[in-house]
């Protein structure tokens, strides 16, 4: 009896919701539903192709998620869109590439690690490249905060945003000087061969590599923020800086640690991007950064789960768009998603600023 009533009130609420919705939101829902149905039709027509695209989308999305987390962590704690973050990701891919080349600052430390190196050496090379890039980007991010954002802690929000954009240009030009204006190839260290026995559904070693790096990082991050003292301090600072200082939390140090975490994730993401796509370029941070930013907004900026969900969604959407609409349309599709989210659900799918502050929506 009670459950029946509950369902009744719930359906009544849904009907009320539809009645009170605006025409533009109804059109948006109809459009989304139409696209989903079209996708479903395609999925039924060619399930293997659809599944392969889905898997590629998820792996690409995982790389984006790690960048998106950097945006969202920083936003959650100091309400700044760190526009230099995408370029930090680019620096990460460059650092990884340099480590793999074996020549660092003109010093030939070891022979370049290439596709011809033995498997153990390749694995070792990839791991070292990952760790060095993570450390470098983490420290770079901390440095950027110290130099460009901390002095403006009490300045108007717009001032910090402009320094962030400035920082982005500086890093991009450092990249330009470092590796030149053209695409630089990454050694093909991880096989593009399919793991799965059938040829219909494709899931490559490369894809597995991304999963194997991303999942532990996400688990570690979630443990750090949810269960460690420092993680709790981060949540406290995100909620109220004065109160956090009063209970003895060093607010500046906590903000530095947040930037360190964001940078570490960007570094890992940068190396993975290079190994996954086989190339990198000085302005890769701009495009990937914007995609990741879109992902963070889609999930709800400041919300960590949201960044991961948003990243995976953007990855899948772009893979589907590449396959069924056309590669050149993909940026249009993605930024249309950004506009739609900002118009109809400005707080994102999972709500903004909730996870980092502790507790979901």
């Amino acid at each position: 009896m009670t459950t029946g009533e509950a369902t009744k009130t719930r359906s009544a609420a849904v009907i009320d919701g539809i009645k009170s919705s605006t025409w533009s939101s109804r059109i948006a829902v109809a459009l989304t539903a139409f696209l989903l149905v079209m996708l479903l039709v395609r999925a039924v027509q060619e399930p293997a192709l659809f599944t392969s695209q889905l898997l590629i989308g998820l792996t690409n999305g995982a790389i984006l998620s790690l960048i998106a987390l950097g945006y969202t962590l920083v936003y959650g704690i100091i309400e700044l869109i760190n526009f230099a973050h995408g370029d930090n990701f680019m620096i990460g891919s460059f650092v990884g590439l340099t480590v793999l080349s074996g020549t660092i600052f003109g010093l030939g430390l070891f022979a370049p690690i290439t596709i011809n190196s033995g498997a153990p050496l390749r694995i070792l090379g990839v791991l070292i490249a990952l760790f060095v890039a993570m450390a470098a980007c983490g420290l770079l991010n901390v440095g950027i905060e110290r130099v460009a954002y901390k002095p403006l802690r009490n300045a108007p929000r717009l001032a910090v945003l402009i320094t962030a954009i400035g920082m982005s240009f500086i890093l991009q030009n450092v990249g330009l000087v470092w590796k030149g204006p053209i695409q630089v190839p990454f050694p093909e260290l991880i096989s593009s061969a399919n793991i799965l026995p059938s040829d219909a559904i494709i899931f490559r070693w490369k894809d597995l590599f991304v999963v194997l790096v991303t999942v532990p990082l996400l688990v570690a991050l979630s443990y750090f923020i949810g269960s460690t003292k420092q993680g709790k301090a981060m949540r406290a600072v995100a909620q109220d800086k004065d109160a956090a200082a009063m209970v003895g939390i060093n607010v500046n140090r906590t903000i530095s640690i947040t930037f360190l975490l964001g940078g570490i994730l960007a570094g890992a993401s940068g190396v993975m991007y290079g190994l996954f796509n086989g190339i990198t370029i000085f302005n890769v941070g701009f495009t990937q950064g914007l995609y990741a930013f879109t992902a963070a907004v889609l999930g709800g900026i400041g919300n960590l789960t949201g960044a991961v969900v948003g990243g995976l969604l953007i990855g899948v959407i772009s893979a589907m768009s590449d396959q069924y609409i056309g590669t050149s349309w993909t940026p249009i599709v993605i930024f249309s998603v950004l506009i739609l989210v900002l118009v109809f659900r400005p707080r994102g799918l999972l709500g903004d600023r909730s996870a980092v502050q502790g507790g979901g929506e």
Binding site: K229, K232, A233, R235, A236, Q239, D240, D242, A243, A244, A245, M246, V247, G248, I249, N250, V251, S354, Q357, G358, G359
Partner: protein
């Protein structure tokens, strides 16, 4: 030697001077109250003591040691703790997590558990709300939590900023009874309050602030009888 001594403290918000040479003392075991109207500088005084707004001039001594200029997050290990204006609890954390954050600088788990129990003895309502998200509680419960959180560091000096603000009279009375109880258990209290009536009832001494300066200092019983104070702050003509 007084527990806390302010010697000619000047504080500014940007170019605006908020404190113009505040000097006051708080002895161990006392409840000292600062009364005054809105904007007199009561909260600013607490913020200056706590290092959230470091004074530009003057000295602040705690147990004889100069503490002005120390960062705010260092005060808790000196033995100063605050229940700030507007409560400033961590809204998205549970009651338990809020209390644990109050003991952030401590590493003795057993002691922290003991102190959580002590806070629950003082405020049984908090025990009922143990796992609730703090932001969803009523104003009175949030005030209890703010005071409870401040107690978790076992402070020598507890700064209380407007604990009566926005609360129903019954609740104000209960909170002030608890504040008296906390003081009896050995914590020195510096209380900022617009509700001078209740403040002077539990205080040993009081200072009257007007536009950033101290205009009067006397035992609480005397201030209660002072015609000027009665007219300006106790709502009597």
């Amino acid at each position: 030697m007084p527990l806390l001594e302010l010697d000619n403290v000047h504080s500014y918000y940007g170019h605006i001077q908020a404190l113009r040479g505040i000097s006051l003392t708080v002895d161990e075991g006392e409840v000292v109250t600062l009364i005054g109207s809105n904007g007199a500088g009561k909260t600013t005084t607490l913020r200056s003591i706590h290092g959230v707004l470091p004074p530009r001039e003057g000295r602040i001594l705690f147990s004889g040691e100069e503490i002005q200029g120390l960062p705010a997050h260092g005060m808790i290990s000196k033995g100063i703790s605050q229940s700030p204006e507007g409560r400033k609890i961590f809204h998205r954390m549970t009651v338990r997590e809020n209390l644990e954050m109050g003991a952030y600088h401590r590493n003795d788990r057993a002691g922290v558990h003991e102190d959580i129990d002590r806070v629950f003895e003082l405020f049984p309502r908090l025990q009922e709300r143990f796992k609730q998200e703090a932001g969803t509680m009523s104003g009175g419960e949030q005030q209890m939590l703010a005071i409870g959180r401040a107690l978790m560091s076992r402070p020598k000096l507890l700064l209380l900023d407007e604990p009566s603000m926005g609360l129903a009279p019954v609740l104000v009375e209960r909170i002030f009874q608890t504040i008296e109880e906390i003081n009896k258990q050995g914590t020195t209290i510096l209380l900022v309050e617009q509700n001078a009536n209740v403040a002077l009832e539990i205080a040993t001494r009081g200072y009257v602030l007007e536009t950033g300066t101290i205009v009067n200092e006397a035992p609480a019983s005397e201030l209660r009888e002072d015609p000027k104070v009665r007219e300006a702050y106790l709502g009597e003509i």
